[in-house]
Amino acid sequence: MTTTVPVTAAEPAATPAALLPPGLVQSRRMVWTTRIIGMAAAVTVALTVWLGLWVTPPDKVQGDLVRLVYLHPGVAWVALYLAFGLAAVASLLYLWPRTRSLFWDRLAAAAVEVGVVFNVCTLISGSIWGRPTWGVWWAWDARLTLTAVLLILFLGYLTLRRVPAEPDVRAKRCAYAALFAAVDVPLVHFSVVWWKTLHQGATVLNANLSPEIHGSMAWTLLLGFVALTLVFVWMLLVRYRIGALEDHLGSGELEVALLERRNEGAEAAR
């Protein structure tokens, strides 16, 4: 006599994303949009590197150092105008009573964090270009100094976000801080016009709006701008998502701490 054991298909383990509350579940379209932007960013960055390092010719005056120009203005564009500009607009929309929503606060926070990373890249790439060109790693030039001040101001913004407070209080406080810091953005932009600086003037967005770069060099520079903008958008989407998840648990920090302690206890008991 044989006994048959009922066989039931094992249930597939639910992924963490499937266990999220309805308000935090991302639509398939959003997930795919983020992935496609990420892939497009990777491809365009690779193309920029290939064109910048191997295809474009060396410059008559700067030689191979011109290749850094395909990267440096792009990261500066993202940090100053896209990231910090967006942070200022989002902060303004948060402070405006009709549009007040924590969405704008979260967007500003995401833009500032990504912007700080790009700001660091701007200062480093500029410094590496400056050493063989000007003979120094750093000069207390108006544009360089104001860009460093911008970094410090937005680092202050990120520190302010860590100060414990009610979400609305924190959002309002940070929105004012972002607007205060963003005043430095036009100062950085016009510094090469208002003061006699070591840093060269605008190559593309100059007063006559006639770019002083041509041919394959111009196309590579343009591609660099597109590539780094895509990198920024991808990072912004991912960082915004982290902010949404953090805010969901923000009010229940004790709950999270208890859960982590319980997990630690369970692991220690094994």
Binding site: P16, I124, M235, E246
Partner: protein
């Protein structure tokens, strides 16, 4: 070329590492929220309408 190589290496390296860190943070927070939600006791249906 050493300055150019260093510039590309450092800038792209920073962006790459930050990108990886973002993905890791997103995964960690997703897991944490899912765990907290799973550990929450279900809402009492008798008190739902009160």
């Amino acid at each position: 070329m050493k300055y150019v190589d260093a510039g590309y290496g450092i800038v792209l390296g920073i962006l790459f590492l930050y990108g990886v860190q973002l993905v890791w943070r997103r995964r960690r927070w997703t897991r944490l929220v899912a765990r907290v939600e799973a550990s929450r006791p279900p809402a009492d249906p008798g008190t739902a309408d009160r």
